[in-house]
């Protein structure tokens, strides 16, 4: 997929662990891992909103389109 997920970069910038983010967002660490690895087929707006709120960032900081 040409959509790249930069969740690990944002987590490193905010010095936050995956487990903590998963707890804040309200998803399982397994699902967060799927999202981080780029295996996810889709992301709900509610999940994206919760991630942006937890990481204090914009959706564009997490998702990038590459040809």
């Amino acid at each position: 997929m040409p959509i790249i997920v930069h969740l690990d970069v944002m987590l490193a910038k905010r010095k936050m662990k995956s487990k903590d983010l998963a707890e804040k967002v309200g998803i399982t660490t397994a699902n967060l891992s799927i999202l981080k690895s780029g295996k996810a087929r889709a992301i709900r707006f509610s999940t994206l909103e919760a991630i942006c709120e937890a990481l204090e960032c914009q959706p564009s900081d997490i998702l990038e389109y590459q040809k």
């Binding site: 998803i27 699902n31 967060l32 799927i34 999202l35 295996k39 996810a40 087929r41 889709a42 992301i43 709900r44 999940t47």
Partner: protein, 167 residues
Amino acid sequence: MRPIKILKKIINIYFYLLGIGVFVDLFQWGIALFNRKQIKLPFIEENILYTSTNIEAIIPKLLGFLLALIFLYSIALLKRSANDLSEGNHFTNQVIIDFKMIGVLFIILAFGELLCKIIFRTLFDNELGLILDSSILILPVIGLFFIYLSQVFSKAREIQFENELTI
């Protein structure tokens, strides 16, 4: 009780009754062969008895058993699918493959029966005619429906997979 549970029970009962029926018929044929008795042949309309040991009596009887075993196997697949469905495993690979196989077997059964009826009625009854009875018409329709159902389940499995990977 949920409809699938009732369906599962009915299919289970039908499968065992059918199995007993095929086994009893096979046993009776064995006895008839041993005693060289006169038997009625499948696929033939007229009530003429044939000597069981004659080759012209053995071939239709064997083909009849072959078709009965194919039907029994397709009901066994249906039984397995009903078990999976009743346990909530709706879109498993096994159910999709089984539904497709049931469909193909039903179509094979219909054509096999039609072919046997045409051949043996021509040979034994000396009449060439296409007799369309309910099984010849209904079996391919049910077979095609099962193949289509398999495709629907396959599509549903893809959607379920996508849904599970939506975070």
